[in-house]
């Protein structure tokens, strides 16, 4: 088992004929991911990367039985791409695009409300279950199969966490990049819940960063869990001065809790092991596993 994606996940690539989609689509295919087709409006009926191309997600799902997609569409098309995927009842969508306007993300969240579609991203490296499926842009060569579940807001620190598990002589069950935009699809709570219930995951690594209240929410959720796996956490951004360039809205929204120290305290209070240096994760992993 693993979370959200595995060798049976049937993947569509939205925007398949683009440059990045072609490059990463091929890498995902070579990795063994079950990519079953692609969507590019106007190019339906053609073939790309040896896969059938469709005009709409609906047609693609009807023909291929796809249940997930990775979107390589430009930021401006994200709202319509998500709407299509949700209407076609995809279970999982991964949005790679950077630069999606926040207002569009509010619309995306409203579209997804009440549907069974889960979104990862935007601005994410995606999700990878080593040896089974790669949806996104992960450098696949650093991943090893194993039993550590990783979830991170930052892309680059996702890789850092992966390397830490390797250093501990362990590997990863599934690695999820949540994306570090203001509004994201899946959050820490969704990921922790899934990892906690997953037979293939023994321990969770959670990488947070300054801004928002995602870590505080995760801590509150974890605290209430009855049966729980250990979480090793790290939060980046302690050096950045707390404050604001303009106005007080951020402070008001967060009830004044805007520092990384606030996040770390909330996590520690909930029983999460938080390291001060990301390169100490492998040491904590070794302790937890033994």
């Amino acid at each position: 088992m693993s979370v959200f994606v595995n060798q049976n996940t049937q993947v569509l690539i939205q925007g398949i004929t683009g440059t990045q989609a072609s490059f990463h689509g091929k890498r995902s295919l070579d990795y063994g991911t079950k990519v079953v087709g692609g969507v590019t409006p106007g190019k339906g009926g053609t073939e790309h990367l040896g896969l059938p191309v469709f005009n709409t997600v609906k047609e693609a799902v009807a023909a291929t039985k796809a249940n997930a997609s990775v979107m390589f569409v430009p930021a401006r098309q994200v709202v319509s791409a998500v709407r299509e995927g949700a209407e076609a009842e995809l279970e999982l969508m991964v949005c790679i695009a950077d630069n999606v306007p926040i207002k569009d993300m509010l619309e995306v969240k409203a579209i997804l409300k009440g549907t069974k579609t889960k979104l990862i991203g935007p601005n994410t490296p995606g999700i990878i279950t080593p040896g089974e499926a790669r949806l996104g842009i992960f450098p696949e060569n650093i991943h090893k199969q194993g039993r550590v579940g990783i979830v991170s807001r930052s892309s680059t620190l996702t890789y850092e966490a992966v390397i830490e598990t390797n250093r501990a002589g362990l590997g990863q069950s599934t690695v999820i990049g949540l994306g570090d935009d203001m509004i994201i699809g899946m959050d820490f709570v969704d990921a922790i819940q899934a990892f906690n219930e997953d037979d293939a995951t023994d321990v969770i690594v959670m990488i947070g960063q300054m801004g928002g209240l995602f870590e505080e929410d995760a801590a509150a959720y974890y605290r209430k869990l009855k049966q729980k796996k250990k979480i090793i956490g790290f939060v980046a951004g302690n050096t950045i001065p707390v404050g604001h360039h303009m106005g007080y809205v951020g402070e008001v929204m967060a009830n004044g809790n805007i520092s990384v120290q606030d996040k770390i305290s909330a996590m520690r209070d909930a029983g999460i092991i938080v390291v001060d240096n990301i390169n100490d994760i492998h040491k904590e992993l070794a302790k937890v596993i033994s």
Binding site: P139, T156, E160, L213, A236, Y248, V252, M253, N279
Partner: protein, 400 residues
Amino acid sequence: MNIHEYQAKHILKSYGIKIPAGKIAYTPLEARKAAIEVSSKGPWVLKAQIQSGGRNQGHFIEKSAGKGTGIRQTSSRREISRLAEEMLGATLVTPQTGKKGKTVTRIYVEAFHKVNRIFYTGLAIDRKNSCITLLLAKLGDKSIREIVAQDPDNILRLHIEPNQKLSSKQISEAASFLEFPPRHLAKLKKYLQGLCKAFVETDALMLEVNPSGIDRHGDIVAIDTKLEIDDKALYRQPKMVPLFDASEVEERELRASKYGFQYESFGGSIGCIVNGDGIALAAMDLIRARGGDTACFLNVKGGVDRDKIASGIKLIMTNPRVEGILINVLGGFLRCNLVADGIIAAASEVGLNVPLVVRFEGTNKDEAKQILEVSHLPVIIAEDMEDSVEKLLAAMEEND
């Protein structure tokens, strides 16, 4: 993107919101003329236009700017050009500018608008609920910061779904929370709906009116306003783009953004080159924990253009504050060899006079290391982030 107070106010005005009469001035003479235009007998308020809050608690670095803050009031028409002259070109430091402060290039001259009561109004993106939240608080005895710290329950939060207006139930809730006179309810409704509409239609991330005031007619007036626009939506906000004030942004930051990179500066002596926000933060945290301090970082993101990467690296190499360079790249989208090429190109052009430690991981890392090895540049290669920070600090100490 932040815009100036006077620009934000004029946007609000176009949404039917009342603002004090005001005019922008770039010279003392313009300030004097503006004053006469906005009010025949005053009093007037002269407001330094910088894109940071706390101007009224601020002070100027230059002695010639006098002891006053960035907001000055006068009833004497003759004083106006003197006050403007003091502030224009001077450097204003507020709790939100950092120590360096910001240069005042323009002054907004307003007719003083008397209000009887004030309240706080803020609109923000609510990450938790994926909606827009309107924040309201009664002001008077306490500032909004004090309310957040001491009395957070006395802030009303109203959620607004995207593409929706405030409901009449929410308006009544706001009115009773603010103890707003019922006979002026229609005015409150128009005001709040106007703010919400302005927020949505300008693709704002933050709109704050601190304070909003109620004048003797029962009209609500935006006394001070801050507006931040979502950079990612600027492509569909053509009216906002010209409002960008390059003087608010550092030269190197501007140049980096032209290459599609992010550049931020701090007070220390180490220049970081990274390929992501998270790794930038983690590297800076580690530098601090080991006793160093960051001067600046350059985030080349998923850069794919060799020349742009080299130009970005030059920005760090030529920064006079930088006494050591730390490069941490975790190649995914970005290929490490392009960064190695960039280091060599930049060093051959501007010279490498400070220790440089590089750590590559991910896509094409071995190729990148080899490129640096055969270049014979005095580059130190590190194995992980911690190792890179420690090696750099040691090399910098040796260099001292």
